[in-house]
Symmetry: C2
Subunit: 219 residues, 2 copies
DNA sequence: CCAAGCTCCAAACTAGCGTTTAAAACAGAT
DNA sequence: ATCTGTTTTAAACGCTAGTTTGGAGCTTGG
């Protein structure tokens, strides 16, 4: 049983620190210190810091992936399965994120930081990995989103999708800071649910907004 | 004339690298190498890497600040100055960003990275600096936004504002990557204008969306 | 009981970071 | 031409990052 004791406490500490500070900003000495294990433990159990990041990442990727799929299937099997609305789809997405966050309050922030990182240049490797892992699960969901969004060209939908992604990743990555700005007290667990809920009508309206063909004149 | 030659080429190289990679990920050796100057030049001319970051930052902060103010004043002095619409306000914001980007195509990405950084924990200093520098200019603009947004509580507006900020910072920080995903060819200069324009109806609809009081049930 | 095999540990190692230094090169004024 | 102050240079410095190492400690099967 002490087999996984060290590994587990390393992952636990890493989750918290990664969520708070990001991957690059967190040092292995911080992690091993917080986990109260030897400095060399990370390299022994995970090979490298990169290996630890992957271990932490994969711990959340699979549940999130399967959760979204099952939520979508459950909705489709429902008897009153009319055309699914945009708000319903977004609620499913938010509920999925919330479920992942339920087991571990740092899961969301870590996942969002991973997403942000994947959109940086010089990270084609991570981007490719996430795409190969997620696109089969995400593509049907995205197509449903598109079906309920305002009719628009491919490129317009591409950018609107990333506007939404920006809202989500920015808000959840910086949730601790934002929550600290807005309120003093810390009941961050329940607050996440409220924020995710707040997003639904906003993102829904953004995706359904008219597609404006008029160009604003240059300065 | 050779006075500012070294400083200028350092700043020029730094802008590009900061925009591409971010501040922490860019090393002084990368910068001095790209600028083709001696390694010690940054410390000689700017005191430190932090000093260089501030120099690069301030080069964009002042123009952006004054530009937004003048745009707002110009709008208010207009003869047909009815109640300004939300789309108008957002267009003013986007035009402001575009003007800043006009002189230097890396200005926007650098500025957005600065914003993102300021929302990280352990960056209260930068956050405080930006607030003290911007809030006088931004507060009137934000109040105009709020007047045109759907009626809502303070906290709801706070979060919606940051949803918008997330869309903008994410899109512009990762513009190079996103643009590379969507299209092969690189005419990124003109494309920025198109993206900023695409945002207007989306953000507008998001801010004007109904405020949903119903809560989605817990899982 | 004891060899075998994990696991843990203190310490050292390599590499890269931002920075400092002191001398050389240069500029303009006297 | 020389002195003065500024700029550039090559080299080294101190520090911290992630990683490696060799041996000590422990558990387990023969």
């Amino acid at each position: 049983m002490n087999h996984k004791g060290t590994s587990a406490s390393i992952i636990k500490a890493a989750e918290i620190l990664f969520a708070e500070q990001g991957f690059a900003e967190t040092t292995v000495r911080q992690i091993t210190s917080k986990a109260d294990v030897n400095l060399a433990a990370i390299n022994y159990h995970f090979g490298s810091k990169k290996g630890l990041i992957q271990a932490v990442a994969e711990k959340f990727l699979t549940p999130l992936c399967t959760e979204l799929t099952s939520m979508l299937e459950h909705r489709n099997l429902s008897t009153d399965a009319g055309q699914v609305t945009l708000d319903e789809l977004l609620e499913i997405l938010m509920r999925t994120l919330l479920v992942v966050n339920h087991d571990n309050v740092n899961a969301l922030a870590v996942f969002m930081r991973l997403l942000e990182l994947s959109y940086m240049q010089n990270q084609e490797e991570l981007r490719g990995f996430l795409i190969s892992r997620y696109q089969d699960t995400l593509q049907p969901f995205i197509q449903l989103l598109r079906a309920d969004a305002a009719p628009m060209e491919d490129d317009e939908f591409f950018w609107r999708l990333h506007f939404c992604l920006g809202s989500i990743t920015f808000t959840l990555s910086n949730f601790q800071t934002l929550h600290g700005i807005e309120k003093r007290e810390f009941d961050s667990g329940a607050e996440v649910e409220r924020i995710l809920h707040r997003m639904i009508p906003v993102l829904s309206a953004g995706l359904q907004a008219r597609t404006d063909k008029t160009y604003f004149c240059r300065v």
